[in-house]
Assembly symmetry: C2
Homo-oligomer: 218 residues x 2
């Protein structure tokens, strides 16, 4: 079982870096959230809307993970929020070491309270890797279909909140919010859920309120 | 570099099974296509439409890959097409061995000409694993955004065709077909491209024609 052992070692090394990150974040009083969703599910748009609504109250920063391009970090910076881009090449998730390096850049000379890590667009692999976050947030867009909760249960069972994004497209897709929430509750008893449209901001108020409860006020 | 060596071994074992699959398929005169796209990009809907339009002319079968549930295989069977479901648990891609096992089930006692493998919903990992297919097909839905070609270049550079799905949502998203095609051509000189709506069938004629050119007539 050599293969299993090596994979275990890789995960153990990741977990050690995740613990380093967690210690650093607790020490600094920073809440870090790991945002996970499919490609094009609206993760960056959610962070743009969040920046608009929360940056004046809560000092925030973003770590952007993508295989290629720095497009998303540029989008966040245009909102007046500091962002560091990680390009993984072909790697399908962010690991704790990559986040560790990005954190030291992002936190240099500035006092943040909230950091979002936008993980690689992928509903599978990022769910398995601890990066030292306070909580995972799952983003599911309405055009993807409400069956994704049953088909990709790991992330939806492990997240502290599910954001159903692109609610403006509810009327032109067969996504049923009631069905999605029922499937979600079946595998995640504690998880919060939000339904919103990041472009117009409709429904985003509850999401912002939820974020405020996660930020340390000490 | 122990870790790299082990990963190389895993890939080598996969490639050996992929070659087995390829030999079997050539021998049987079967064209196998590896369908790759994000969760909810419309891969199953594309295969449902394809079944409706092509099954009377070309004997076909489908191998469905999902982490959990047999929903997609049931959808395909409802179209009168044979389907085998593979559930990978937490694995983020289909490997050649899993496909090998499914092939032997699917081909038992029946003469097929065309097999679709609907890979795990994931734009990253499936692109790296040869399963013995004749060609990879990338599916990109309009709500995902046309920037995905630049952000996930591996699959779009390696595919024989890109299907832009959910064209019915073009008017309610900021997806620009012209921009997508330009980015696609930059990294893939030979690849075909189709724009279609699987639900209504609009634009699917060219896709069906393309499939017919891939099927062996001997």
């Amino acid at each position: 079982m050599k293969r299993i052992k090596v994979l275990d070692n890789i995960l153990a090394a990741n977990d050690a870096w995740a613990e380093e990150n967690r210690k650093f974040l607790v020490q600094q009083g920073i809440t870090m959230l790991n945002i996970i969703g499919s490609p094009g599910s609206g993760k960056t748009a959610l962070l743009e809307r969040t920046a608009d609504m929360l940056k004046s109250e809560v000092p925030m920063g973003v770590i952007e993970g993508d295989l290629e391009t720095a497009k998303d970090a540029r989008r966040i910076r245009r909102k007046g929020v500091a962002a560091v881009q990680i390009n993984t090449g072909n790697a399908c998730h962010l690991d704790a070491y990559a986040v560790h390096s990005a954190l030291s850049h992002l936190c240099k000379g500035t006092k943040l309270k909230l950091i979002f890590v936008e993980n690689i667009g992928n509903l599978v692999c990022p769910a398995e890797f601890d990066i030292g976050e306070a909580a995972k947030i799952a983003v599911l867009s309405t055009p993807e279909g409400d069956d994704k909760i049953e088909k990709y249960p790991l992330i939806f069972s492990r997240c502290a909140a599910m954001v159903i994004s692109k609610s403006d497209l509810l009327s032109v897709t067969d996504f049923k919010v009631g069905r999605a929430l029922k499937n979600y509750e079946r595998i995640n008893k504690q998880g919060a859920a939000f339904v919103l449209d990041s472009l117009s901001g409709r429904g985003a108020g509850k999401w912002i309120h939820f974020l405020k409860t996660l930020v340390r006020t000490d």
